[in-house]
Structure formats: structure tokens, C-alpha cells
């Protein structure tokens, strides 16, 4: 159990770094898309020699960054116990029952991660490789984009082994949820 704890602490640190970089780069990508188009329009209208063309690849690139951000972010949220659950009935049970149920929930979450994200995701990646599927604009292999599915599945499995929520604690106490709903 201690080994898992140590591994998870490192994974969490790595995730934080990657998420910060991804989100910053994603913002810059889309801002560049707007700027390049506006600058191109200005230079055409006023005949300025700015040599800027509206960017064509930013839209696709940003969507891929989004896929990675979303699923790695979901793994981080699992680590921080932020995925919302319905605890109205659960909190009325005895602490012993709550502990037992939490173990069951861990098992269910891991089951989903292994079957759908790791297994289904890997099969999906293999299929796109076999079919030589590439993205429309950048001509990247689709496998690069879908690889985040099994990878995030492994992260989530490792985090779930340590726990999905704390028994006896409500998720919706003040300060725990800032942006629960959209």
C-alpha cells in the first residue's frame, strides 16, 4: 500500500506539471488563431507587408490538446476526490458500512477504467494504427490523440487503488465544491 502511495504522489506531481503546460499552450494556440486572422485581415485591407496568413492548423491542434487536458484532468480530479457523487443516502449509513461501500466503489471505478479506458482505449488506438488513420489537417496519426484514453485509464486505476472518496465526509461541504455545476 505504501508503494502505491509513493507512486501516486509522483504521478500527481507529473500530472500537475503537464496540466499547467497543456492549458497555457492551449490558450496561446487559440489566441494566436484570432490574432493571425485579425492581423491578416488588417494587412490585406491596408496593404501592409505583414506576411501573415490566417492559421489553419490551430483549430485541430487545440482540439487535441483539449482531449489530453480533459482526460488527464479527469484523472487529477479523481486523485483530489472531486468527481461528484450522490451522498444523501450514503452519509446516513454507519461508518463501517460506509467503509465497506467505499471499497466496492473503488473496485467498480477500477473495473470501468480497466475495461473501457485501458482495454477499449488500447483496442481503439490499435485499430487507428492498423487503418493508418491520420488527422484531417495536421496529418498526425490518430493514435497520438486517442493514446490519452488508455494512459488516463492507468492513472485513474492507480489513484483509485488508494481511494475514491473519504468515508464519512460529505463532498458538498462549503469550499469543497466550487464549480460543481457548469
Amino acid at each position: 500500500m505504501n508503494a502505491i502511495k509513493r507512486i501516486n504522489e509522483r504521478l500527481e506531481y507529473a500530472l500537475k506539471l503537464v496540466l499547467c503546460v497543456l492549458l497555457s499552450v492551449m490558450t496561446i494556440t487559440v489566441v494566436w488563431q484570432v490574432l493571425s486572422r485579425l492581423l491578416a485581415r488588417v494587412s490585406v485591407t491596408y496593404g501592409l507587408p505583414l506576411l501573415i496568413e490566417p492559421s489553419r492548423w490551430t483549430e485541430e491542434l487545440a482540439s487535441f490538446q483539449l482531449g489530453w487536458l480533459a482526460l488527464l484532468g479527469a484523472a487529477y480530479a479523481l486523485r483530489k476526490h472531486e468527481h461528484l457523487g450522490f451522498d444523501f443516502i450514503y452519509l446516513k449509513m454507519s461508518l463501517l458500512a460506509q467503509r465497506r461501500i467505499e471499497l466496492l466503489v473503488r473496485a467498480l471505478v477500477i473495473l470501468f477504467c480497466l475495461v473501457v479506458l485501458v482495454y477499449g482505449g488500447t483496442r481503439l488506438v490499435m485499430m487507428t494504427i492498423a487503418l493508418h488513420q491520420t488527422t484531417a489537417g495536421l496529418q498526425w496519426p490518430m493514435a497520438v490523440i486517442y493514446a490519452v484514453i488508455p494512459i488516463s485509464g492507468l492513472f485513474m486505476t492507480s489513484f483509485a487503488l488508494e481511494g475514491v472518496f473519504k468515508p464519512g465526509e460529505s463532498q458538498l461541504e462549503e469550499g469543497r465544491v466550487e464549480e460543481a455545476a457548469l
Binding site: 483549430e59 483539449l66 488527464l72 482505449g121 465544491v177
Partner: protein
């Protein structure tokens, strides 16, 4: 059979406190496993999730969340409240009306009802209590008016709707939300004033001096400028809604770090990671809900419900009422994102068929229905058993759900009245985007 498995497992998992995104994912897997082998089931769900979360449309969601975090921690909420006090605070029911207006203004710069409830409520509930308003009334008012922000753009839930409705412009939807959101706010204000006068709550705030007004206007102007930049850019077609959201991030960053100076550069990584975490939470819900909607379509659920609804009545008014009732019921126990993704494909075709009976077109109905479904689910956020905004309001005021229900009933009735107006008067949703800004046809 598929549907019985799906609903049964979903409810069981929900009660066991399995996180909702996983409840949806596991029950989708089980339902698919009924008619397909495990291998294609797992691959199909993974593939539905993969394609849905990489859509360029949804890119606006993390950006609006990030911009919202800058604003929520950057002192914007306080300046909006100051401005609301000098504009409407001197009216009868002063701070109650101020509370609603501050929530609407917050909704106009951010897209999260939960952030509004904690940002505005955290200040307004204690302030109202000090002015001799009962705590339960202050909390109930905050909770209901926080939801106006989901109708008033920018609003992330409209982006989610646009993805499933298909052929809808996000900009058009955003603009369509203004009047319904203001109508909801206005009806809440009226009821709040009536309740205040009838029960003799609160003291009256004096009329502001010119100096006070100018000071608060100068304080709030940079925040409102963001609104003009973002919505103005969308309305004039200078940029798309997704691009506008990235511009909003840059503006909110500059505003809170360099102008208001309430966020330090070293706090930025923390804000980025928090945004990624919230994004991940929302997108896992989106991915699994899309998979579930796919299974519903595969099992012909939309057709079954269509037949069922039409079997009850052929009167368009009754059918729309029925749809509203179902959506209100769904909203009480389901979170907004999955509800929009799962129920839009089911009810939108019915609503489009009813468009001529309401004197509108199927194309315009797509926008109006977006407003209707979001409005219904907004009300669901204020009701138990699953009402995120309700829980936040109760948490801030430190009162129980039983205490908040009584003062909430009149406010809820006012909100439902506004909902019915929005349902039966297409003009409320389509006049601004179609006739005024000519963004949709």
C-alpha cells in the same frame, strides 16, 4: 431490456455513491453488454468518449472556467456587488434586489451558477443578515438567482447543448439567453420585494451620492468592459464563441493580475491546475453521457418516448407542458451536463415538430428549446435531492435544506411562471438574435 438494465444499474450505483460520471459509464457498458459482446462494447464507449471530448466547440468550456476562476478570486464579485448596491439598493427590499442583480451581473461575466452562489452569496448572505433579513430567505434568494447566470451568456451549458443539438450557432444561443435570463431575474426581484414588504424584512439603504455612484462605476467598468469585448466580438462576428473564450481568459488574467492586483503570478499554476481538474470532471461526464445517449439511440428510445408523449395528447400546449414537467423531474436528481446530452436528442425532435403550432420555425425552435431545457435544469439545481447550487447556498448560510425550502417556494413559483412564458412565447428567445442582431434566420 437495455433500458431496464441501464436505469436499474444507474440508480443502484448512484445510491452507492459511485461518482456520477462513473455511474453513467458503468451502466452504459452494462446496457451495451446486454446485446453486444464485451469487446465491441468497450471499444465503442472509448471511441464515443474520444471523439466527443476532442470537439473544437467544447474548447470554450475550459477557457470560460479559467476566466471565471480569475474573476472569482480577483475581486470582481465584490465590485459587482458594490455597483448593484448603488444602482438598486435604495429601492424597497434594497439588499434583496441587490442580491439578484449582483448574481445576474456575475452571470454576465462568468458562466457558472455554482461560482455565482459562492462568490456573491459568500458576501451577500452575511450582509443581508446584518440588515435584518432572515438567513433562510437570504440563502433561498441567492440560490435561485445564481441560476440566472446560466441563461445569461457566456454560459458553458449552452456550448454543451450546441454540440448535441447540431446546426446551432453558439453565439446565437448566447444572445437568445439574455431576455429569458433577465425575465427570470426580474420575476425573482418582484417576489423578493413583495416578501420583504409583507414580512417587514430589512432596512432601507439610503440613496447613493453622486460620488459613491461614480466610484463604484469606475471600479466595475473594467469588468463590464470584458462583457462588451467578449459578447461584442461574438455578435459582430469578429470571432467565434470559442475564440471569444480564449480572449476572455487573456482579459481576465490581465485584469486580475495587473489591474486589480488581487492575484499574484505565483498563484497562477494553482489556478491552472484547478481549472484542469474542473474541466476533467465535466468532460468525463460529457464523454460518458455521449456514450449513454448513443445507446439510447441504438435502443430506439427517442422513438419510444415520442410515441408515448404523442399518445397522451396531440395538443402542442399540453405536450410542451409535459416535456417541461419531465425535464423538471429529471433536473431534481440529475446534473445539468448529462441531462442536456441525454435528453436533447429525445425531446428536440418533438419540439421542432411543434414549432408551427407556436408560430415559429423548426430552425428557430432549436434555439428556443435550448433555452427551455437549460431553464428547466437550472431550477433542478435549486431542488433536493441533487441540487448543487442549493447545497452551496445552504453551506454558506449554515442552514439545513429543510429550513431553506419554505422561503424558496414563492421564488420557485415565480421562476416556473417565467419558464412557462419562455416556453410559449418564442419571441422572448428569438427576438434578440434574429431581429436585433440578425445572427440567426
Amino acid at each position: 431490456m437495455t433500458i431496464a438494465v441501464l436505469t436499474g444499474i444507474f440508480i443502484l450505483l448512484l445510491f452507492l455513491r459511485v461518482p456520477i460520471a462513473f455511474c453513467i459509464g458503468i451502466s452504459a457498458l452494462a446496457a451495451m453488454f446486454v446485446s453486444l459482446p464485451l469487446d465491441p462494447s468497450a471499444v465503442t464507449i472509448a471511441q464515443r468518449m474520444g471523439t466527443s471530448i476532442t470537439s473544437f466547440t467544447l474548447l470554450a468550456i475550459p477557457f470560460f472556467i479559467l476566466a471565471g476562476k480569475f474573476l472569482a478570486t480577483g475581486g470582481v464579485a465584490r465590485r459587482l456587488i458594490d455597483f448593484a448596491i448603488v444602482t438598486v439598493g435604495f429601492l424597497p427590499g434594497g439588499l434583496a434586489v441587490t442580491n439578484v442583480l449582483a448574481n445576474m451581473l456575475f452571470g454576465a461575466v462568468s458562466g457558472s451558477a455554482a461560482a455565482a452562489a459562492s462568490g456573491i452569496g459568500g458576501f451577500m448572505i452575511p450582509a443581508m443578515e446584518k440588515e435584518r433579513y432572515p438567513k433562510d430567505f437570504a440563502a433561498a434568494l441567492t440560490v435561485t438567482s445564481a441560476t440566472t447566470g446560466l441563461l445569461i451568456p457566456p454560459s458553458n451549458v449552452f456550448i454543451v447543448y450546441a454540440m448535441v443539438a447540431g446546426g446551432v450557432s453558439i453565439g446565437g444561443l448566447f444572445v437568445a439567453g439574455y431576455l429569458p435570463g433577465m425575465l427570470l431575474g426580474l420575476s425573482l426581484m418582484v417576489i423578493a420585494v413583495v416578501m420583504t414588504l409583507k414580512n417587514g424584512y430589512g432596512a432601507r439603504t439610503p440613496f447613493p451620492t453622486l460620488g459613491q455612484f461614480t466610484r463604484s462605476l469606475i471600479g466595475v467598468l473594467p469588468s463590464l468592459l470584458m462583457l462588451i469585448l467578449v459578447m461584442g466580438g461574438i455578435v459582430t462576428g469578429l470571432f467565434t464563441a470559442t475564440e471569444a473564450s480564449a480572449i476572455a481568459v487573456v482579459y481576465a488574467f490581465v485584469l486580475s493580475v495587473f489591474y486589480y492586483r488581487e492575484i499574484k503570478l505565483k498563484d497562477i499554476p494553482k489556478i491552472l491546475v484547478e481549472t484542469a481538474s474542473t474541466t476533467g470532471m465535466v468532460f468525463l461526464l460529457i464523454g460518458t453521457s455521449i456514450a449513454m445517449a448513443w445507446i439510447f439511440a441504438y435502443a430506439n428510445v427517442p422513438q419510444l418516448i415520442d410515441t408515448f408523449v404523442r399518445g397522451i395528447s396531440s395538443n402542442p400546449i399540453i405536450i410542451l407542458l409535459l416535456i417541461n414537467l419531465i425535464l423538471l423531474a429529471v433536473g431534481t436528481f440529475m446534473d445539468m451536463t448529462p441531462a442536456v446530452l441525454i435528453f436533447t436528442p429525445i425531446f428536440l425532435p418533438i419540439a421542432e415538430d411543434l414549432a408551427p403550432a407556436l408560430g415559429t420555425t423548426p430552425e428557430l425552435m432549436k434555439y428556443q428549446f435550448g433555452i427551455i431545457i437549460v431553464f428547466n435544469l437550472c431550477l433542478g439545481l435549486c431542488t433536493p435531492p441533487v441540487g448543487t447550487v442549493l447545497f452551496i447556498g445552504c453551506g454558506i448560510a449554515k442552514i439545513s435544506i429543510t429550513q431553506i425550502i419554505k422561503p424558496m417556494i414563492p421564488l420557485f413559483v415565480a421562476a416556473v411562471a417565467a419558464l412557462l412564458l419562455v416556453t410559449y412565447v418564442p419571441w422572448l428567445s428569438t427576438w434578440l438574435p434574429r431581429d436585433v442582431f440578425q445572427m440567426i434566420k
